[in-house]
Symmetry: C3
Amino acid sequence: MFKEIINNVKEKVSLVHNITNYVTVNDVANSLIAYGAAPIMADDPKEVEDITALCQGTNINIGTLNERTITSMVLAGQKANALKQPVLLDPVGIGASNLRTETAMTLIKKINFDVIRGNMSEMKAIALGTGGARGVDADAADAISQQNLSAVVELAVSLSERIGSVVAISGAIDVVAHGHQVAIVRNGSPLMAQITGSGCMLSALITATLAANPEKPFRATVTAFCVMGVAGEMAEARMTETDGNASYRNYLIDGIYNLNAAVLERRSNCEIREA
Amino acid sequence: MFKEIINNVKEKVSLVHNITNYVTVNDVANSLIAYGAAPIMADDPKEVEDITALCQGTNINIGTLNERTITSMVLAGQKANALKQPVLLDPVGIGASNLRTETAMTLIKKINFDVIRGNMSEMKAIALGTGGARGVDADAADAISQQNLSAVVELAVSLSERIGSVVAISGAIDVVAHGHQVAIVRNGSPLMAQITGSGCMLSALITATLAANPEKPFRATVTAFCVMGVAGEMAEARMTETDGNASYRNYLIDGIYNLNAAVLERRSNCEIREA
Amino acid sequence: MFKEIINNVKEKVSLVHNITNYVTVNDVANSLIAYGAAPIMADDPKEVEDITALCQGTNINIGTLNERTITSMVLAGQKANALKQPVLLDPVGIGASNLRTETAMTLIKKINFDVIRGNMSEMKAIALGTGGARGVDADAADAISQQNLSAVVELAVSLSERIGSVVAISGAIDVVAHGHQVAIVRNGSPLMAQITGSGCMLSALITATLAANPEKPFRATVTAFCVMGVAGEMAEARMTETDGNASYRNYLIDGIYNLNAAVLERRSNCEIREA
């Protein structure tokens, strides 16, 4: 299922516009290059529409947002909509402050997102339109497991139906929903939660996959989850006794770099069902 | 002496708010995770009080400051004070510009810092309330050695008594003072000065240690210095002939990741005395 | 030819002021330290003149520019001019937006740059004073090869004569021109295009070399290109099967760290001619 989608990513070398936080921005750029896409970062209101117009996809991430960049997010997202170009929202830390919650809800109102990607705490905050998150990580109570999987699927499906976007929830088990179409991805490594930026990189990879496969938002999103998960496993396999999370970060991006459709086909653990 | 303090860090997984520079912010985030804490970065005046209220400690670093973030630093620091939550100041490059000197002095006036951590040049600038630093690194003339150690201790003690904070001066030999209580830490590696961010990471680790041990600001600070120093030694031991400072940076964060109370107890070289 | 220039870099430990993008800023800082220089980053209008006055060189990079930092770029560049201190322009992504094109052209009008460094697409945009670039990378059509080399040299020479700066164009083959003096550098690795920041780091290294050799802008620039190219080759030689672009980034900075004048003399592939 992945071959054509991945091949499109590698062949088209899509330019992806990222309005993103300054914490993980370098990893976002290098992971996009590793994947076969080309990153550009811009966040001033005076240029973001030009930049989005030049690109094939736009990735909006609200980590380290400020008044100036919020304006830019709205402008870039609306430009992407006007150009019928894929645009993704990563509502980092929604619920951690009123500013983040209001910004995410405003963006969802003003922009038609192809995909919204977050952890379970963030997605619950979107579903409720209000706070509750502990920070940028999912609450322990929001860990996705076999036990609460059906509830997570239900949330994803109902949110997707309400908003119209692909809803992508990452965790120990990942859940992607587009209306009643659902994917459960069981790839990845617990070490991915031991670095900053796994989620930001995943959102960027989804945007790149969408940019190269704009007609297939659900399949593209699921593919990016499998890429990230398998790369996370490849990275874990390289860990030595003295390695820690800094080495893991490098191995993870290296994994994305070395992944191809054949490896992905063999190693991905992805179940697609109708909810 | 470290066991309980380190165990508290690992068990509590404190959320640490960092208003910090965009140069080393990613290393700050990954080193906090390596240590067992959880980072969040926010710098807009409209959200920093919410974020600090959600956290257990706040780390204010004036590198790459600007007018907007200076406002945020004041708001976050005062919120931390109001909540009786630990707050640290890292006066990066104080003395390099009037803006940095004035900002650091204003922050010290408006906020009760639990800890102020800098190199010898930065701490002298604070003591004098005026410039003189060469940049973000300590002047060569300000290197801490056995020869000038008693003068450094004297500065640390008098500054701590005047301001009321733990005063933590990092260098080839580290000096921490809380009133007349003084610690001399002789861990670390000269390679730590060959990367950007050693100081920023240390400040973040101190904040995380304080967040998990708010009743013991002196012990917590000393523990974080030992953690950083021992991790620096572990990193140096991994260096191969072709490695340089980029690899060292990864090994340093990996070292923090792999450090536990037992290793720290065995390897730390820390002397505590009354000045 | 390199020995004296490199020795000056290592001995003087010049302080370099970088007003640069937040995507690659950490790599810029670590590569400057690897090279033997000392980085400082500041971008607020209220402090950039102080910081430039403290430094021996200023590196202006327009990636992730905004209204506030554009003001800072002008102030810092003019201060550098007033102090007769080397200043470099890296017109990242000029042509990708009107804001970038106008900013770069305004900076060139208001500041006398010692060196302007970009890829072929960026340099064509400067020559034309108008857009056309695909993003932050050179267009495929602008790849520098043996076939179009004479046209690239011609552009570099005519742009250098018009503006008065050293014009430095990086690509598979690098071209540096100062008036009719031209250097062709054939070092480097295709992997350098597989990470973000190769260009930003190169611009920083040029600035550091100029800072330590202000009387020799052409030789200093050529030396920095050879340093970056040879470090890129050393990094490629370290790559294993599981390594990807994240490891390459580390190896590249490590390479700069381990390079000395003797290695450079032996491995550099640089031809100097009159155009």
